[in-house]
Each structure stands twice: as structure tokens, then as C-alpha cells.
């Protein structure tokens, strides 16, 4: 005789749930941890992660070798993690499990508030020379990387100030002057873009990624907003700063671009600029090595409403920093290695091997020899002094996701009014930024 199904299932489900609960309690009780109070001055072997970008691997290997030769008792072991979408997920999971290394040379500033909330980052200001070293090296820009309590939980390392790359050959084909293309104001930019597409030189004028990941707005909205607002961040002191005439002007500019089909609204697999599908791109100096042989490129600052002078235009920094993580037992060595790898010499190596800008003051003058030999990078070095970082605020990722959702809806797909979407997003973001 079979018992009726629901009650048997219910009983079994209940039994299973109780069993699971018991196991949860047992495991939760079992976990322990915590660092020793002497970790800050301890010295010994450490482990680091850096990105698996070809050039950064070259830099990483040489800096580790240089250190290991000089410090036989404090060996550094290095592993690579990919720079792609999943790297923050991996770091977050590693923090929770306590398996992350001492230093990660691939820490995104947007992820720092989250890692800090997890208790995963070590306060660099707790070292006696922590704050002074960071502020001396990075100068005025350092303040953008401090957390809300004024301490530094990340070491600003390198930036990739984004500017407008354009394809000189495609511009010539479209009848635009490739040496001084009119790209300074929104109106000029729109007119040039229209000319490019109408002439058939390229299917699109520019092709930022139209997908909905939270970080995509860093490469369409944010650079132009940084320029238009004279260096403001998305959020400051718990309040959004983009629902202003300047911010709306940027949004309307992009909305025009998408409405006139000057940029594509479908994900493009591959690099549209390299493939000749788009005549322009918004990228940083890392792209020079990529496009060197593929495209005859030129570079200009991002457009502004009124055509500001180039030496006053700000842009997005696209920085990657270094964090020291909670599982580190030999923090003394980690701090020393951190200073070693961001010394003037090693920053110079970074510049030479990767072309990315170290976040230190007065890069053009410090490495004048390099820029004499590689004038391509000089413009970026000068731009690097005027960059804006993502705001270091609570719920940073969620704020950017909220913004991106509003952006794709109103600007890319024209589903809602730009003004209304920005206002709604600002309200939500104000709430998120003011949480602890």
C-alpha cells in the first residue's frame, strides 16, 4: 500500500533539510582563522598574482627575479590570473576561503570597497610610511584611491587614460583631414561621425561595447563625463553627481550617436576598430601595441561640449592597482616588495615593457628619455595627470550596474527618455551610496 505522495515527499524533504541544517551548523562552528598581530612586521616568503597579459607577464617575471636575487630568504612566488570578466569573482571567492595571495597586481578599484567590506584588504596606512609613500608617489591623484575612512586599502599602480583613437586611412577615405580631424566638440564629433558612415568608409564611426555588464559605462559615458565636469566622479560624499546639465549633455550626445546608427547596438565579437568596422575607438595606451601593425592610427582627447583645450581635459583612468590581502602572514616582506615594485626604476620598466602609465607624479619628465624614443606615448603621459577614477563608495558594483541598466535602456535602445532614466538612476544610486 503506497502512502499518498505529498506527505511522503514532505517528510523526506523535511528530513533532508534537517540533515543539511545540522551539517551547516557543524561546519560553521568549525571554521577559525585570523592573522597574528605580528604579521605586519613579519618577513618571509610571499605569493603574488599578476595578470596574464603578455607584456605584464614580462614585467612581472623581471621584477620577481630582481627581488628574489637580492632577497634569498624572502622569496616571491608568482602566479597568473586572467584579467577577464571573472577575475574579481575569483578574488572574492579566494578571500572568503582564505586562499588569496599576499599581493594581487590586478585589483580593480571598483572592487576595492567590496573586498574591504569583506575584511579582505589590509590597511596600507597602518604601515608607518604607508600614507606618505603612496601620496608622495602618486601626488594629487592619490586621494581618489583612499577609502571613505581616509585610509588607503589599495596602492595606486598604473593607469590607461582613455582617449579617442582614429583610423587615419578610413578618415581619409571619408574625406576628413587625418592630421587634425574635427573631434573637439560634440557637434563636430557627430558631424565627422556622420560623414564617415555616410561615405561608406566604415559601417560605424565608433563601437563601444553595448552590452550590459556593469563596467561598460567606463568606456562610453564616464570618460566624457570626466571631461565635461572638469574631473568629477560619478558619486561623491554619498550623492550622485551625474544628474546635472553636463551629465545629461553627455548622455544626449551618446543617444544621438546610437539613434543615428553611428555606433552598433549589438555585441561585436572581436575588435571592431582593428577589423575596420569602426573608424574610431575609445581606448588607452595599451592599445598602441595592439594596433601598431594593424591600423594607421592617430589619437585625440575625448570631445567636450564647448571644445575645451586639450591640456584641460580629464578622462577615465582605467587604473589597475595592487592590494595587500588579509591572508598575508609576511606583511613586512609584502610591503617592502610593494615599494620595490613601484620604485622609479620598476615603474620605468613597466612603462617600457607595457606602455601603460605608472600612477606617479610627473611621468613625462621622469622618463623623458623613454618619451623621446617613443613619442606616441607622450600624449597619454600628459593625459595621465588628469584622470578620474571610479568612486570609492559602498555598493560600488551595484551602483555601476544600476547606471548601466538605465544607460542601455535610454541611450542605447531608446526605450525610455534620457532625462527620466538618469533621474531615476540618480535616486537609486543616492540610496546605494549612502548605505554603510
Amino acid at each position: 500500500m503506497r502512502p499518498s505522495r505529498p506527505s511522503r515527499r514532505y517528510r523526506h524533504g523535511l528530513a533532508a533539510a534537517v540533515l543539511a541544517g545540522a551539517i551547516v551548523v557543524l561546519t560553521a562552528c568549525g571554521s577559525s582563522g585570523g592573522g597574528s598581530p605580528d604579521a605586519a612586521s613579519a618577513h618571509g616568503p610571499i605569493k603574488i598574482w599578476y595578470s596574464n597579459n603578455e607584456q605584464e607577464i614580462a614585467w612581472g617575471k623581471q621584477v620577481v627575479d630582481a627581488w628574489n636575487t637580492a632577497h634569498p630568504t624572502e622569496q616571491v612566488t608568482a602566479e597568473q590570473i586572467p584579467t577577464g570578466k571573472s577575475s574579481e569573482d575569483v578574488i572574492g571567492a579566494a578571500i572568503t576561503a582564505g586562499t588569496e595571495p599576499c599581493l594581487i597586481y590586478n585589483t580593480s578599484p571598483a572592487a576595492v570597497p567590496g573586498f574591504q567590506k569583506q575584511g579582505g584588504l589590509i590597511d596600507l596606512s597602518s604601515f608607518p610610511d604607508g600614507t606618505s609613500y603612496i601620496e608622495t608617489r602618486t601626488g594629487a591623484l592619490a586621494k581618489q584611491y583612499a577609502s571613505t575612512d581616509g585610509h588607503y586599502y589599495q596602492m595606486p599602480w598604473k593607469s590607461n587614460p582613455v582617449m579617442i583613437f582614429y583610423n587615419k586611412d578610413l578618415l581619409t577615405k571619408a574625406g576628413v583631414d587625418p592630421t587634425k580631424p574635427p573631434l573637439a566638440t560634440y557637434d563636430e564629433f557627430l558631424a565627422t561621425a556622420k560623414k564617415i558612415v555616410d561615405s561608406g568608409a566604415a559601417p560605424y564611426a565608433i563601437y563601444p561595447a553595448p552590452s550590459s555588464e556593469f563596467y561598460q559605462s567606463w568606456f562610453d559615458f564616464y570618460p566624457l563625463f570626466a571631461a565635461a565636469s572638469g574631473g568629477k566622479q560619478l558619486v561623491a560624499d554619498g550623492k550622485s553627481q551625474f544628474n546635472t546639465p553636463e551629465g545629461l549633455a553627455v548622455a544626449n550626445f551618446w543617444q544621438q550617436i546610437y539613434a543615428q546608427k553611428l555606433a552598433g547596438n549589438e555585441t561585436y565579437t572581436g575588435d571592431a576598430f582593428a577589423d575596420g568596422k569602426a573608424a574610431m575607438a575609445i581606448v588607452g595606451p595599451w592599445a598602441i601595441a595592439v594596433y601598431k601593425d594593424k591600423v594607421n592610427w592617430g589619437v585625440a582627447p575625448v570631445p567636450t561640449a564647448t571644445g575645451m583645450k586639450a591640456d584641460q581635459i580629464h578622462t577615465f583612468s582605467d587604473a589597475k592597482n595592487v592590494g595587500m590581502y588579509a591572508s598575508c602572514t609576511n606583511q613586512g616582506t609584502a610591503w617592502d616588495f610593494l615599494k620595490f615594485s613601484t620604485s622609479q626604476e620598476q615603474d620605468g620598466q613597466l612603462l617600457t615593457l607595457t606602455g601603460q602609465m605608472p600612477l606617479r607624479t610627473d611621468v613625462p619628465a621622469t622618463y623623458a628619455d623613454y618619451f623621446a624614443k617613443n613619442p606616441d606615448y607622450k600624449l597619454f603621459a600628459e593625459q595621465a595627470a588628469r584622470t578620474v577614477e571610479v568612486p570609492n563608495t559602498a555598493n560600488s558594483v551595484e551602483i555601476w550596474q544600476t547606471f548601466r541598466d538605465a544607460w542601455t535602456s535610454a541611450v542605447i535602445f531608446g526605450k525610455s527618455g534620457v532625462q527620466q532614466a538618469m533621474t531615476d538612476a540618480a535616486t537609486k544610486i543616492d540610496q546605494l551610496a549612502s548605505q554603510k
Partner: protein, 325 residues
Amino acid sequence: MTTSATRSPVPRDHPAAQAAGGAGGGQHRTPLVTRLFGRQPIGMLLAAPYAVFIAVIFAYPIGFAVYMSFTDYYFTAPGVTVPHPFVGFDNYKTVLTDPAVLASFGHVGIFLILNVPLTVALSLGLAVALNRAIHFRTFFRAAYYVPYVTASVAVVAVWLFLFSSTGLVNQILGPLAPDPSWLVNSVWAMPMIALFVTWKQLGFFILLYLAALQNVPKELYESASVDGAGAWRSFRSVTVPGVRQATALVLLLAIVTGANLFTEPYLLTGGGGPDGASTTPVLLMYQQGIQQGKPSTASAIGVVLVILVLIVALVNRRLTERSER
């Protein structure tokens, strides 16, 4: 010793068989052991590795997820203690009143309505066709299986290319092509994902049916044709009941796959599609739980999803059981 041959073997889970089965084994055991451990306690030994595996690997994460959904929880480094206040059903309230979450469940519903019947019908039909000794049988079987085997990441790129606004499909369709194009069209985005997943998973389900078809005794087909049944009739009366078990499994797995959809919306429609037209609950769980560091609401979404799927699976079982009483 011979036993009589029966024309249609009675499956083990038929009510009559279950009532009669097992009677022989328990006769020389004491009633106490039987009461404590069941009629064939050796079963506990045989099932123990699997049971231990589930307990050790899954019980903790699943239990923990349920626990998180009732508290205000976020992951911390080991040794960092923060309060995890019990918040009752607050997370569930937040989640169930969030229009984005409700929309994502709606998208999954659309997906299931499109994908599940198509999958069952196509995979059974193709399995029957591929079971016959036809020319190029191996080629056909391999052709339908290959999409299942290729990694999503790579094959998505091909689909993005084929269905882009200047892609092959639109070039063939000409003026009939929708504007905006398929994957960025809020009406077509989810059906496109349904089509993609159907195409990709079909090999798996064809395989299940192929295996099940091997167990449908040939005598049944012979007796059906002797009775004058045509191809369609014998399909309906012999094949479909004969693979009933496989159909139950195919339905269950198709529903579970559809409900847990993540990779395809993430890759094919760039993380949620045009204006969020192809978000799914698991995509939101990933965004909230892993990217934004809010595992409590993510777990609440997950628990709601699991409950809904279990209900659907239960209904599914009831319906398929009832149909052959």
C-alpha cells in the same frame, strides 16, 4: 529452470510489481532489522558512497544558501566576524517585489514554453529516425550530437555572427529581417536563446531516447504491424508508451536546464539583453551574489527558483504518471 516468457515485460515501478516485489527476500530476517533498516538493508551499503557524496559536497552549500536567505549576510575573510542578523522573510519580500526579478522569471517561463515541447518532440522524432538502419546513420547521429559537445563560449560567437544585423540569416531573409536585429530585439531575444539552447542540447536528449528505444522489444512492433498498424499508429501505441520513462527524464532535465539558464543569456545577449529583455534568475543571482556581494538576496532568488522548479517537476510527474494508468 525456465520461467514463462511474457509478451510485454512488466516494468519494476508498476504498482503491481512493487507490491509483489521484495517479498521473497525478507522471509528469513528478524522483523526488528526489517523495521529498522528496511527489507533489504544491503541497499544502505550500496547507496552509502552516493549518499555520503551528497551529504559532504552539497548539503553544506545548499543548507548554507538557505541560511543566507534568512539573514543579512555577506561573505567575509576568515577570522573576520561581523553580525549576521536574522531578518526573517525580508530578503524574500525584496526579491518578490523587485520588477527585475519577476521579469526574469517571466523570461524563463517564455523559454520553457518554447523549448520544452520542441525538445521533446524533436528529440523523440529524431531518435526514432536515427534508430533505423538508414544510409549515413553514423553521420546523422554525429551531426545532431556535435553541437552538444562544443563549448558554449565558442559556438556563441558563431551565432552572434550569424544573427547579427549584417549576418547570414538577415542576408537571406532580406526585407523580412526584424529591425532591430534578432539578439538585440526585446521581443526576439528570449526566443532566440530558446532556439539556441534547443539546438545545442538536442544531442543529449536524442541520446537518452536512443538508449531507451533499444529497450522497446521488437516483438511489440511486430505484433503491431501484424495487427495492421501503420508507421504513425505504431509510433503512438508502441514507441511513445515504451519510452515513457525517458520522456519523464527528458522533461525533468529540460525544465531544470531552462530554469537554471545562465551562460546563454550572459554570452549571447551580453549580460541581460536589450533593456533587460533576456535576464534570467540565475543571471541575477550571479550579478547580485557574486559581483555585488549580496549573497542573501541572491540566495532568496535561488530558493524561490528551486521551489518553483520542484513544483513544476512534481506536476510533470503527476501528469506523466496519470497518463498511463
